[in-house]
Subunit: 295 residues, 2 copies
């Protein structure tokens, strides 16, 4: 995977302790920071979305990164590059969408420039307060693996969009909800270091990242992964659940005796390395993961 | 100017107290944050630069924003979108360039995605520490107007690049230096609120922004603006000095009796509105300012 090779190169050049999780944890300031680029015709198409929904999702994608760290999302900054024919209506609706993603978050500015295609780069800042900040390095054998909700809906929704449909699944794809409350319940109650990620690049990708960073085996019981039954209209719905991406749910590895309201236990962390589903080791699934650099 | 009209719309939608300066000042955390997008074939061309210089300048442009606030630049995050044919060498050199812009600054990660053209969005974080943070709203009649150094070099350098030259001016265009020390001298010594901006969009643009935000008249003595004599080879070098942009110098309005080592006093803040150069009021210069949305 080219993206991962690039990140290896970046780590070699920078020797930075901050690179590895979706958020950088700046302990001296007590904040976490994340940044995501959304590029027209790569991450979204104006054929299927509009300015309001794009603003909404751009904010939400970054709020989700902050939620994955366990911090409280407080500020968003946005670098927006737009084609010359952009009108004021687009700007107005984009920012209304961003603001409505979470009204408790302040949008603090950023940059606005010209461009051939639409480029949105959002930076999110979260406060650590008295919360425990996660790292994908922190999964331990014996932990239970929990998720916040359904997987596969967003990928099925994207297919529905291609077919010109409008339904609950397409809504989930266009306007996902970051799992801010789930994040808060964990990070304010947990006593021990823990691993948490969002499943923006798919559940399997998140499991693989945690496995590699923590050097553990993720043992999953497929039937326990929650999903919306309406995706069963797609024959390969099981692949959508595992590899679909953009559901912006959270997956966490927490102690066996840790309890909060409202989660789905989908498996256990074991000694070893990689991913097992229903006791079958899953190998070489890179080609199923989304890769922007695929040629 | 379309960019400014857009910013007016954004202010109306967000009603955010943070929008107005290049940096947002987050007092509850004690930091300032800025974000800038650099877009291929709008802000730069790979015909004239390379990955190392692009990384260097991308960092420096944002370090300059932090310097303009008076804060200490400490962290950079970068969202990088790159064409599918990008190789590891590009990534390596880009990050080496970023790191070498200021080795005291930590690069904390960000995002890497695909794109048709190169897009670099850098977010910079500065610590306020015991420094006084500037705002373009703070200029007062009686203040002296000071700059940190030469204007016009970068714009002349860009012209030289178009002509295939390589010299001191082209270096200044490709690898500018943010005025971090000048900023620190002011913000750690000044006792009163003050206005400061970088001249990334040109000296006149900065003067106009301060004039509008502070509702004051900026009276400039043209002969006192420092510049590199080698730009006199261009007949319109005076326009390059005033409107050229990308010199990343600082312009500040400080009390008459404020002294630091190493600055150029170029004029005075007076009661009124707008800009006077050598006692002549300058009007309607919008068409001379750089505008990415010009069609």
């Amino acid at each position: 995977m080219k993206e991962k090779e690039f990140i290896t190169v970046i780590k070699q050049v920078l020797k930075s302790k901050y690179i590895g999780d979706d958020c950088a944890h700046l302990k001296d300031i007590g904040i976490v920071v994340s940044q995501d680029n959304l590029v027209e015709n790569i991450h979204f198409s104006m054929d299927y979305t509009d300015a309001y929904k794009l603003g909404y999702k751009s904010a939400m994608v970054n709020i989700s990164d902050i939620a994955a760290s366990g911090a409280k999302p407080v500020y968003l900054s946005v670098g927006l590059s737009l084609p010359p024919n952009t009108d004021e209506k687009f700007i107005k609706e984009f920012y209304e969408g961003m603001q409505n993603a979470d009204k408790s978050i302040d949008i603090i500015g950023g940059d606005i420039t010209g461009s051939k295609n639409i480029l949105v780069s959002v930076t999110a800042i979260g406060k650590c307060l008295n919360r425990k900040i996660s790292s994908r390095k922190n999964a331990k054998p014996g932990d239970k693996i929990i998720v916040s909700g359904n997987h596969g809906s967003s990928a099925a929704g994207l297919r529905d969009l291609f077919r010109g449909h409008k339904n609950n699944l397409t809504n989930i794809h266009l306007m996902p909800e970051a799992q801010v409350e789930f994040s808060e319940k964990i990070s304010t109650n947990i006593k021990r270091d823990y691993a948490m990620m969002d499943t923006s690049d798919g559940l399997m990708d998140a499991l693989e990242q945690i496995s590699q960073s923590s050097q553990v085996l993720m043992s999953i019981d497929f039937d326990k992964i929650p999903y919306d039954k309406s995706i069963e209209k797609y024959e390969d719905f099981k692949d959508l659940i595992l590899y679909g991406g953009e559901d912006y749910q959270l997956v966490a590895c927490v102690p066996e005796d840790f309890r909060i309201n409202g989660y789905y236990e989908i498996g256990r962390v074991e000694k070893g390395l990689g991913i097992k589903i229903d006791n079958r080791t899953i190998k070489n699934f890179d080609n199923k993961l989304f890769n922007h650099f695929k040629e």
